[in-house]
Symmetry: C2
Subunit: 173 residues, 2 copies
Amino acid sequence: MNFDMNEAIQVLKSTPGTLTSLLAGLSDNWLHTNEGEETWTPIQVIGHLIEGEKYNWIPRLELIIQQGAAVSFPPFDRYAHLTKESESSLDNKLSEFQKLRMQNLNRLQALVHTEEQLELKGNHPQFGTVKIRELLSTWVVHDLTHMSQILRIMAKRYNQDVGPWIEFLRILK
Amino acid sequence: MNFDMNEAIQVLKSTPGTLTSLLAGLSDNWLHTNEGEETWTPIQVIGHLIEGEKYNWIPRLELIIQQGAAVSFPPFDRYAHLTKESESSLDNKLSEFQKLRMQNLNRLQALVHTEEQLELKGNHPQFGTVKIRELLSTWVVHDLTHMSQILRIMAKRYNQDVGPWIEFLRILK
């Protein structure tokens, strides 16, 4: 096991800035591309990350701390950002994500102080028993997987353009 | 085909800042991890990107413009950064990458002005005929694939820690 609270926070803290650096200067062709029917655009991925800040990570952490495994997590809708799609611009979405993330990291640090707390158990509707350590590790890897998704969505725009080099470009496979 | 010079430059320009945001605040445990024997650490990936700035993209572009397909590209050693590994810190490596990238984007804009130039042909030692359009598209996707590689290297540290959530985390598959 490699989870360490301070190291996890290093990553969680940097994600909004990393996404801002990656996306803020891009044209609509990059921001509104996707990988085909029923797949997400980079902007929709940011919408999903915002939903996670509001309804997933910290609410679940609070539920575990308050009620343990007695109550199952309320379901998190992984597609909510598609139905309540807002008109807000990329810049607004990135700022909202940044603000929520910073609030949530403060909340995390106020709630979890000890190694023992990482072993506290909650009840996931699909997986059954899960630990705070697993929830927080997943929060980190969830950031990494969705940043990676955005890079892959972008790369696929040039699927044809790279010609024979496709052979060397793992992201296009 | 989707390649557009201005859009490509948007991505190429943002990569050093994106990598700085992602990596600059991280502890050594994140920076020196890899995916197992003969795989790279995040710092080694930056070393490889620096090699590309020095010996791959712009030198090949210049060769095509000066000599067309008459001369084959000199081979690019994709493992050079492993043998001439420097002691320079992550911060120094990121600054070097940023500086070289900005110089190279200036050079690119000085060299390529027209759509017609994108069709100019060079000679790749393995692939045979390649076009400037393909070389420049590959430069962009090469950035994206190596940023994605760094995210994947990092994610794998928490392979065990995420517990049952591994099922939802594509980056760990």
